[in-house]
Assembly symmetry: C2
Homo-oligomer: 282 residues x 2
Amino acid sequence: MSKAGRQPVIGVFDSGFGGLTVLRALIERLPQARYAFLGDTARLPYGSKSRRTIARYAAQSAQFLVREQGAEFMVIACNTASALALDAIQDAVPVPVLGVIEPGASAAQGASASGDVMVIATDATVHSHAYAAACQARGLRAIEKACPLLVPLVEEGWTTHPVTAEVIRIYLGELRAQAAAEGLKPDTLVLGCTHYPLLRRLIEQVLANNSASGVRVIDSAESTAETAVKLFNGRAAAQPGGALAQTEIRCFATDSVKKFERLGSRFLERPVGRVELIDLGG
Amino acid sequence: MSKAGRQPVIGVFDSGFGGLTVLRALIERLPQARYAFLGDTARLPYGSKSRRTIARYAAQSAQFLVREQGAEFMVIACNTASALALDAIQDAVPVPVLGVIEPGASAAQGASASGDVMVIATDATVHSHAYAAACQARGLRAIEKACPLLVPLVEEGWTTHPVTAEVIRIYLGELRAQAAAEGLKPDTLVLGCTHYPLLRRLIEQVLANNSASGVRVIDSAESTAETAVKLFNGRAAAQPGGALAQTEIRCFATDSVKKFERLGSRFLERPVGRVELIDLGG
């Protein structure tokens, strides 16, 4: 698939830069690939927009990565776009496209013994009920909760702050009470937002401090990267020894390049370098 | 100015629905006017966009209120648009246009004895330094702080929550420490975001509990409404006895009508009723 002598390009797309957690998980598993990441920061948040608008924006973004950056594989590292526009993106580009929701639900299926799963996500993702549907399709019962304060807390850098621990305690307390009221015995918690991996340790601490240490935490960024590796199986990128090659990353954004550069490295766990500003139009 | 026998229409514009706090303050003072409020919710947040884009969006919104709703007076109840696009809006419509920043700075000037003022606002407003400039023009020294968690806390409905009190305590503690380090003795705090009036009581409590009960809180929504009343002086809307007439309010939004309807009444302190969806284009 890849051009002579070069590693294939994996395109990773998000409405913002939260999807860098998915890119981080991909790099960990496929360090020898080349990556092109696009954050459509000029048009975020997708969550408040109609399905038709989101599909148009996401398709344009995927086309940029495939046509102009040569991506041979697309990862949609955006819950809203995965929930509402995966079909539209698949129609728009001639390469395989993977979203974050199905891998998250599959990992929950693998982890849950009770078959009851909790999902925390943004308001938009919860309202789409995409995780509930993907869980149901796997015979799981899912209960979802919107946690709108968690993204701003992560962006404020308060990922180990007592205030954030208290907010998580409140949200998870409400979610577990709601699960109990509905007769569910959840043993698995899906992080259904690309910002939440930065809170994983704090979430696990809060669970442990509230007699819920048995609850398994599923990070859909990790699950998505694992699924991507399987889909890549047999390709050049998965060649043993390839890890010696240096990872190549190019980051693009449609606006707010400075915020992306400033906060992005926390998500990627390495410098994002210079972020290139591009214009995808209205 | 107003059409035969009818009260004049006051147009109020915001990128979202936070500006409803300005509308609430206007209604309190001019209950007999007719109001047309537009939240450009499809294109928020303005804060991450360029000045040119914000000017175009704000001008389109003002034109809708003036041309299609007959507004004879425009209040820009949006800090970002007031900071970056007031001139463009004034050029775009043939009616008087009032922003929120100048009235806030004038009220601070009236309230401050030391001449040193603190301003809390969103990231975008702080980065514009519009309040600092308006304060400086009045001989005040201003120190600004972005408080990005406060809008999501208000939208979560946690306006009296201990978590919110703690976040305010941290932000104000950092702001006062920064002021002290710069040799300022601030005696006035400007609420430079239309969401913050919902936190006014909590902010005053936190100040009182931290030996800062002498700090005067200036709500720029209130200051803007007071300035609007002065500018309206002599118009039909200010006629005594007019208060007997019922307030007429029409609310418009470019997207997310449900969130507007659900949260708007908290800001307006009365039901917002049905919000009409309009399309202003890309």
